[in-house]
């Protein structure tokens, strides 16, 4: 279908002006162009922490301009429509969005991003669907038909996929065992995709049937579920980044449907962003995207068992003992991991760092690119706790210096400090770049047990001579440690 042929939508794109609108169609288009510039400047702002707040504001301004151009433009004026419904839609959305954004814990960011992603995707699919419905009975263009089918497919898939990701992230541990690939999973997915594409072809050949569009969306929605369900909960961040990219592509496709440049520009920006983040995460985990989506990463049966690795070699240490390790230390590096996020220990970590610094100890934070469950997850948590970002060191920067570290304090990190990645080419994380914590003079690991991290493999670091395990919940253990240090 070609939205250009629907009268009201068309006026936004063609040359006609409806008397009564504040802006001519060209005026509105010019504002859309300005909005695109703001979006680009917004992303540009995010390339540096100093300009990032302003960049985000630019993005918001761009959105405001685009909305204003639409409202004041010719498309909305001169038509009888239920203004209450628009106002209600915006009000409901704004309140829900604002509440969620203000209430969410920083540890809940992955879930939030997942669910917002899904909303972006479904909105695009719904818009394309609306335009499709309105165009029924008119002649349509191949361009519009293809874009409509693409928008429905990608949008619906993004929606259900994101919702699954959301639930998987909500409670990682309990859901982790459940799904697993059902037999013939890949065949099923393939069939679903073929089905959706088949209906897409139908839509292009005959764009007068509403049911075709619904069928595409329904199949894509099922596909979104079957694709994401078997993926390990901890792989969800990669999936989310990919879905982020899809939500952008859906918006761009909708731009082709309604012939609107600003949708195309911003959709492409988001699409590129998601693709790059996905690639970064896969690289940091040394896995291919296909492996993340179709491979299963379970505890490998043939690797060394936990007993082999730990048997009799693990030394526990009480907070008092750990406190003594800091006597005379000059350089301490804190390695935060997913467990710190779970324990919400970031503020306690900050207090500890301040205490150590008050003793003239140099404290730095070593941030692994996939520590936690989102790219940059640790940075956000530590920033929340008001820790100067100059103290956060990236892996490549800090790795060569671990030999001069007196105490490496590992808080709830596991896989990202597992030396097996370097030493055992058979291990499931072989080749994944890790923080070389084992080279520090002493290592203190704070976690609740010897249970494995996301990759499900034992970690020989815990059994090293110079490693001390301080068992306990991240936050509680650190509070005790702080208590001891203060008493001294």
């Amino acid at each position: 279908m070609n939205a250009l042929l629907i009268l009201p939508l068309a006026q936004a794109a063609s040359g006609e002006t409806t008397s009564g609108s504040l802006l001519s169609a060209q005026g509105a288009d010019l504002l859309y162009l300005i909005a695109s510039i703001f979006f680009i400047l917004g992303i540009k702002g995010l390339t540096h922490p100093r300009t990032a707040v302003r960049g985000n504001a630019f993005g918001a301004i761009g959105m405001l301009i685009a909305v204003a151009a639409t409202v004041a433009g010719p498309a909305l004026s001169g038509h009888a429509f239920d203004f209450t419904m628009i106002a209600a839609g915006i009000a409901i959305g704004a309140v829900l969005g604002a509440l969620t954004a203000l209430k969410v814990e920083m540890t809940g960011m992955p879930q939030l991003v997942a669910v917002f992603n899904g909303f972006g995707g479904i909105a695009s699919a719904l818009v394309a669907g609306g335009a499709f419905l309105l165009a029924i009975g008119t002649e349509t263009s191949l361009q519009g038909d293809i874009a409509t089918a693409a928008s429905g497919l990608i949008g619906a898939l993004t929606f259900t996929g994101s919702i699954v990701a959301f639930f998987k992230l909500l409670d990682l541990r309990s859901l982790r065992k459940i799904p697993g690939a059902i037999p013939g999973q890949k065949v099923l997915n393939g069939l679903l995709l073929l089905g959706a594409l088949w209906f897409g072809v139908q839509l292009v050949q005959d764009s007068s049937q509403v049911s075709t569009y619904y069928a595409i969306c329904a199949i894509a929605a099922v596909l979104g579920i079957t694709l994401t369900t078997p993926i390990g909960g901890a792989d969800m961040p990669v999936v989310i980044a990919l879905l982020n990219s899809y939500s952008g592509l859906a918006a761009a496709a909708t731009g082709f449907v309604i012939d609107n440049n600003v949708l195309i520009v911003s959709g492409s920006l988001v699409g590129a962003s998601g693709v790059i983040l996905t690639a970064i995460m896969c690289k940091a985990m040394n896995r291919s995207l296909t492996n993340v989506i179709f491979g299963s990463l379970g505890p490998s049966a043939d690797g060394p068992s936990a007993d082999d690795v730990y048997g009799g070699k693990v030394k526990g240490a009480s907070p008092d003992e750990v406190a003594m390790l800091f006597d005379g230390a000059q350089r301490v590096v804190v390695v935060p991991g997913y467990g710190m996020a779970v324990a919400q220990a970031q503020h306690t970590v900050r207090d500890l760092a301040n205490l150590l610094e008050a003793r003239d100890i140099e404290v730095e934070f070593a941030i692994h690119p996939v520590a936690g469950r989102m790219p940059g997850h640790m940075n956000v948590l530590l920033a929340e706790a008001d820790i100067d970002y100059d103290k956060l060191k990236e892996m490549d920067e800090i790795n060569p210096t671990f030999e001069t570290v007196d105490v490496a304090l590992v808080i709830g990190a596991n896989d990202v400090v597992n030396p097996v990645a370097r030493t055992d080419p058979q291990s499931p994380i072989a080749g994944m770049p890790v923080l070389d914590v084992d080279k520090a003079r002493t290592v203190v690991v704070v976690k609740r047990s010897l249970s494995p991290g996301f990759a499900g493999i034992p970690n020989p670091l815990f059994a090293m001579d110079n490693t001390y395990m301080m068992f306990g919940d991240g936050k509680k253990a650190l509070i005790e440690l702080i208590g001891v240090l203060k008493e001294e």
Partner: protein, 112 residues
């Protein structure tokens, strides 16, 4: 409608306008790639939520769809509801996305 060689057919249907849209798409993808490879890892989470908010641009399409609210055609009723839900979802995405990104970014500061 012929499907084979559909890309060229598509070009023939949409005229130069389609090529212009494709050119815009191509250029925007390049701009996106160049800019985003410069975003430091520290800012990857805000980038995700911020770009997320930008993908809520479908709000523009949702607003344009509401003209259907006054429409008469057979499917206008359905289109109206699709538009309404699109509006709600897109607004959540936009308002929530920019706000939460702002909250996160406001936490980043150098004490130097």
């Amino acid at each position: 409608m012929e499907l084979f060689g559909c890309f060229f057919v598509a070009a023939a249907d949409g005229g130069t306008s389609l090529i212009a849209l494709l050119t815009i798409f191509m250029l925007a993808v390049f701009v996106g790639f160049e800019l985003i490879t410069k975003v430091p890892p520290t800012l990857h989470t805000p980038l995700m939520s911020g770009s997320n908010a930008i993908s809520g641009i479908a709000i523009v399409g949702a607003l344009l769809s509401v003209v259907a609210l006054g429409g008469e055609g057979e499917h206008a009723g359905m289109a109206r509801w699709l538009g309404f839900f699109a509006l709600v979802f897109a607004t959540i995405n936009v308002v929530g996305g920019f706000l939460v990104t702002h909250r996160m970014l406001a936490m980043f500061r150098s004490k130097k």
